[in-house]
Symmetry: C2
Subunit: 341 residues, 2 copies
């Protein structure tokens, strides 16, 4: 790192002159001033203590790091995080890593350099040593360590509730279909909820998971995985399963489409429950039966915890928020289906 002595040496002036230029505190010839400023710029010289002093100041900026903004769940979450921050006098800088780990590191470094007061992340990566982030940090859907607070929906409870609904609807065999996060994510608890309820009810169950992969080419359509390929394989390998819980609404929609394509009726032949409860379904057929994540509460809670951390308050290290079931058109009791006809 350049020091004031380096600036002086290269500009061919004394340290006192550099100091006068910086502080505008005494007469310096125009040409000399310009030369000193040029050297300051070239060397990227920053007075040490000024830099440190700035760091201690509040910027009223919070960084949000998302894997992708084209997934409606993430963009809704960002909406509520921004809204809550704004209510509290903060602004949000949103960065999207496009599920690319190099980008994520670069963006986190950039956020640190831009001196945000804190960071909220949803990360699909593990390489990054989060302990090295000096800024107050809150994670969503991802446990890092006991020191870093994390916020998630009650994924386990959601998995249990969905499985109960499938069993109530009369399913004699059930499956979990979805993406397997590459690193520990509380999303996996959905699967465990299904397993526990299926076992308790002596219902045979199958787990059909596809590993999520790094997004190398930055393709928009399915940034993390291609749901349509996964459900095609599932339908081929498990043609007789009667009820399915998927790891996301996108998976549920892809599954319904594939089942219809091969001539199966939903929910008459196969009952399907999604997970997320994303907004953009509203206008489209069929309305998914789904576990709705408390996306607004998750967003606002992350902000409250982060602002607590920033103020040095004691905050909960783990916030698990309630989910609920939305009865759509893809999972119904047999009696209800008959009524409709």
């Amino acid at each position: 790192m350049a020091k004031i002595k380096d600036v002086a040496r290269i500009a061919g002036v004394g340290v006192g002159t550099v100091s006068r230029v910086i502080n505008n505190s005494g007469p310096v010839k125009f040409e000399t001033r310009e030369k000193v400023l040029r050297v300051i710029e070239e060397l990227e010289y920053v007075p040490n203590e000024i830099a440190r002093s700035f760091k201690r100041k509040s910027s009223k900026l919070v960084g949000l790091m998302l894997p992708t903004i084209t997934n409606p769940f993430f963009s809704e979450l960002a909406f509520y995080i921004e809204d809550e921050l704004y209510l509290k006098g903060y602004k949000m800088l949103l960065c999207s890593s496009q599920t690319n780990s190099d980008k994520e590191i670069e963006y986190l470094d950039m956020l640190k350099r831009n001196l945000v007061d804190g960071i909220i992340t949803i990360s699909y990566h593990d390489y990054y040593n989060h302990d090295k982030i000096d800024n107050p940090l809150v994670t969503i859907d991802r446990y890092i360590s006991d020191e870093i607070p994390h916020v998630s929906a009650d994924n386990y409870g959601g998995g249990k509730l969905a499985t109960e609904k499938l069993i109530e609807a009369g399913c004699k065999s059930i499956a979990y279909v979805g993406g397997a996060p590459r690193y520990h994510s509380s999303v996996s608890d959905r699967k465990q909820g299904l397993i526990d309820i299926a076992k308790a009810n002596n219902i045979p169950y199958y787990i059909f998971e596809e590993s999520e992969s790094e997004n190398i080419e930055g393709s928009l359509s399915r940034p993390i995985m291609d749901e349509s390929l996964v459900v095609k394989r599932f339908v081929r390998e498990y043609p007789n399963v009667e009820g399915v819980l998927t790891s996301s609404d996108l998976f549920a929609a892809a599954l319904v489409k594939e089942l219809r394509r091969i001539g199966k009726r939903v929910p008459e032949d196969v009952q399907v429950i999604g997970f997320d409860g994303i907004q953009s379904n509203d206008y489209f057929e069929p309305q998914l039966s789904t576990i709705k994540q408390p996306v607004e509460a998750m967003g606002r809670q992350s902000v409250k915890i982060l602002l607590g951390l920033i103020k040095g308050e004691k905050v909960p290290s783990n916030s698990v928020l309630n989910i609920n079931y939305i009865e759509g058109e893809t999972c119904k009791k047999a009696s209800d289906i008959v009524d409709i006809k």
Copy 2:
């Protein structure tokens, strides 16, 4: 603005001491140093020339200002803008105004303070004097002045093409249904395309527009307007129209839903064409017939023009990019419909 003299006076030391502290350039007692730094922080003192010198440096950051990220069209656009910037060695700071004009002003000021190299905006507001933005600026879908380059889809051509498709499908009367931007936006050209083609073909046409409003409460569901209310009114007031072009896919989906609710068949009774071609339709029924905006090209072109501006190159003041028609299930020729049955 605080000067070095103010810092010295309040800290009770000489200007030379403050200068030595800032530049770490000579011996200062620990307590004195701490006191000077505290005053620097309190007064938010920044050495003048340092601040100016920083401004001249490239931050390799570009700000993107969107009205909302929960609309899939905007989030796709952001995806491609980020991707193109990253390829060119830049990072994107995304700010969402939630269609609130106060927020938009504050975010633009924040971006300027964070010394971005340039800004890309999609703005629904007019209050802001864009001439006061010193940073290189590119707008999307919005003409501000000849000095500010803007990028849009061929909205006029899209309106024409959709109208031709409705006429080809046999519609004897057509309507344009959608939101009317409060300020001049090239989105309005879609309507003009419909009018011109309808006139040229002697087909009666109707314009049913609802003014877009400011988002006061920051509600997520329909940030700019409630499409479902607008289409309900339209269907009541124009029960016999045979073909409709809507200003967006969200409008088209809402219209199809409302038509079905009142017992009309799409496309047998009413033909519907949307506008945008947003990704998230994929899994849902019906597949909309729609005019696809070249969202990838629009994103990449905005970046190319902005980086040209940053480098001081001459750039086109107006980029109009080609649209195309996607044949979905909501507009079909009568002969094609019969074939399907």
